[in-house]
């Protein structure tokens, strides 16, 4: 199957900038994939997403989105993508429905009419059904000034789906939202992916949101440092460990070594640290006789793996600079 996004040797160098913001990156995104594009501030995430959504010109490289070449057919690219920006891009002076009506007018999905009642029946049915999906039913005529941040995000989801995009770009979609709104927004996005098979290209600083992604691409200093599944990334970067302690710490250490475990000291917690890669933690814990005062099983999160990766990258950069 042809990738829905193909990026080859993409480079973006801003005028008067000493280094390239995006430096010769290449990757592919498969149709229907949830692709998490991660990186620290200034790494080149927004530059890349801006190029892919045709709002920024690239310096060099080749990009295809939904079968359309970015250089030859930018309009075709735009017609097949939906975008939820980092900051809500809605007109506060209009109602939710008027914002959506403007959107479908811009995309040519429906012929534009000045009044909601004059819009085609298809439009009215679709907007009402999508509004019910995100829980905005009965509030489409309300001025946006009275909407909360979460409601605006839901409106943007409805709006971005009205023209049935093949790729949905989400640029930090949950920035500034409370945990409940974040959770409900991801629930709706999951449904959208299931039902429409929409490819989602996500950038976020909330790493837990990227845990469910199919692949994670980490960009740093304009270059791709890792492109893996979340599980593989964690496996490569971090150990799964048991943290434990006892009043008789020396006895516990001797017992663990007797069981063939590698015992170390966890610097951050001060506890004993026993890796269990390739085994279940229960196989070790069940054989310990020494009374324990602390027992923790540490399964590293994507965030920990990400932080470890960035630290590794920073130390390498310092070595190169030295």
């Amino acid at each position: 199957m042809e990738p829905i996004i193909t990026v080859e040797h993409l480079t973006k160098r801003y005028k008067k900038a000493a280094v390239a913001a995006v430096d010769d990156i290449s990757f592919e995104v498969e149709p229907g994939e949830l692709f998490a594009f991660l990186g620290p501030n200034g790494a080149g995430k927004t530059t890349t997403i801006s190029i892919l959504t045709t709002t920024l010109a690239k310096t060099s490289g080749h990009v295809r989105v939904a079968g359309h070449d970015l250089d030859a057919d930018a309009t075709g690219v735009r017609r097949n993508i939906g975008i939820i920006f980092q900051n809500p891009s809605v007109d506060q002076h209009l109602s939710a429905e008027e914002n959506i009506r403007l959107h479908v007018g811009l995309y040519g999905t429906y012929s534009y009419r000045p009044i909601y009642r004059l819009m085609p029946a298809d439009y009215r049915q679709r907007i009402e059904r999508l509004a019910s999906v995100v829980g905005l039913e009965g509030q489409l005529g309300t001025p946006l000034k009275s909407y909360s941040g979460g409601m605006k995000r839901k409106l943007e989801i409805v709006r971005s789906l009205m023209h049935r995009p093949r790729v949905l770009f989400l640029d930090e979609p949950t920035a500034g939202l409370d945990p409940v709104s974040r959770a409900s927004l991801w629930e709706y996005l999951r449904q959208v992916r299931e039902e429409e098979g929409t490819t989602v290209f996500l950038t976020t600083h909330y790493l837990d949101e990227a845990e469910d992604s199919d692949r994670v691409c980490v960009i740093d200093h304009g270059r791709i440092s890792r492109l893996e599944t979340p599980a593989e990334l964690k496996r490569q970067l971090l150990e799964r460990v048991i943290l434990l302690d006892a009043l008789d710490r020396d006895g516990l250490i001797a017992e663990l070594r007797g069981l063939g475990a590698e015992v170390g000291l966890d610097e951050s917690s001060g506890l004993l640290r026993v890796p269990f890669d390739g085994k279940t933690p229960q196989s070790l814990i069940a054989r310990i006789v020494t009374p324990l005062t602390v027992l923790r099983v540490s399964d590293p999160s994507l965030e920990e793996a990400y932080v470890a990766l960035l630290r590794e990258s920073d130390s390498e950069s310092e070595e190169v600079a030295a």
Binding site: T55, H93, R101, H103, L106, S111, D122, L130, V133, E195
Partner: protein, 346 residues
């Protein structure tokens, strides 16, 4: 769980009802988008009560207070009817500024992020600009309610046919304003600076008459500071054009100059219309410059450089009249460097 099942069912239903993408020629899609963008401007205008109030009150204050004071205090010294002059300027300026603001509000929308929604849509940038100019021009018609109301309140002697002729210029005024707006947003990135720019834009040619509407560099020796300031401003020309069309404050007539040369002017509204018994209109240089714009350089009146006299120009009876200038119009009655005569223009 039940809610999720309900939502999933609703999503399936929404997808099944989704239409095929509008398969229309590119031009139709762009026209559809233009209409959508334009109507958004209209919606914004009619939804903002404060904006409506300001749009109506501002012309009332401007015409009623400023125009009234100028007419009352300086009107007798003017060789033309000031209020009709200002009224036409207000109408032209309202349309012009509407077109300009339609573009410059992009600066504000760039700040709040809405331009991203417009510029990732599968339409050309020209469609966005065109839609905004058209929409904001229609929206600025709201302001005309206040301006036109002053015709009745202040009993300004105008012909509505003249006003309609000015409104016929609306597309040109709006697009000229939009063009300046495009230039403006190229180097202004702060909404506050844009607001200041709008405020500064109001004065040119609206309340002060234009001395010269041509751009001939050979006349530079006649230019004073105010003239140089206003020279590159397109609204100056447009106000002049609007006044030509409406015959507002362009009281020149066809006739012969002292040197015997026949000059055609436009029928004008005489100052006597508002002040019976007042001096006859002598606003010939304004009309002449306007005629030049409308009918070509052959109709231009020759004017001598400042500081020299010209036998082609005389005086109204025993009263000398000066060429109307943005800087010197109010020093009426003195013997200026240029003199014109109503009798000589008959």
């Amino acid at each position: 769980m039940t809610a999720q099942v309900r939502n999933t069912a609703a999503l399936r239903a929404a997808n099944s009802a989704a239409p095929a993408e509008l398969r229309a020629p590119r031009l139709v899609l762009e026209a559809n988008a233009t209409f959508a963008v334009a109507w958004r401007e209209v919606l914004r205008a009619i939804k903002s009560r404060q904006m409506i109030a300001i749009n109506i009150i501002f012309p009332v204050l401007f015409m009623g207070i400023m125009g009234g004071m100028i007419q009352q205090n300086l009107g007798k010294g003017l060789p033309y009817a000031y209020l009709p002059f200002m009224l036409v300027g207000m109408v032209a300026q309202t349309m012009y500024q509407g077109g300009m603001m339609g573009i410059t509000t992009l600066i504000e929308e760039r700040e709040n992020g809405f331009t991203a929604e417009l510029f990732v849509a599968p339409i050309t940038r020209y469609t966005v600009l065109l839609g905004r100019i058209i929409g904001s021009s229609i929206a600025s018609m709201v302001s005309l309610v206040g301006v036109l109301a002053m015709i009745f309140v202040m009993q300004i002697p105008v012909n509505f046919g003249d006003i309609l002729r000015v409104l016929a210029l609306a597309p040109i005024l709006a697009f000229a304003g939009g063009a300046l707006g495009v230039l403006f947003i190229g180097f202004v990135h702060d909404p506050k600076v844009a607001d200041v720019g709008h405020a500064a834009d109001v004065s040119c040619g609206l309340v002060d008459p234009e001395r010269r509407l041509d751009w001939n560099p050979g006349h530079r020796d006649q230019a004073d500071a105010a003239d140089l300031r206003d020279r590159p401003r397109p609204e100056r020309l447009l106000h002049g054009q609007a006044r030509v069309l409406s015959r507002g404050a362009v009281p020149a007539r066809s006739g012969h100059r002292r040197d015997g040369r026949h000059v055609r002017g436009l029928p004008g509204r005489r100052n006597a219309d508002v002040r019976p018994g007042g001096p006859r209109p002598v606003g010939r240089p304004i009309a002449a410059a306007s005629v030049r714009l409308v009918r070509g350089p052959a109709m231009a009146w020759r004017r001598p450089p400042i500081g020299r006299s010209d036998p082609a120009y005389g005086s109204v009876g025993s009263r000398p009249c000066r060429l109307i200038s943005s800087s010197s119009a109010w020093r009426a009655g003195g013997s200026g460097p240029l003199h014109s005569s109503a009798s000589s223009s008959k």
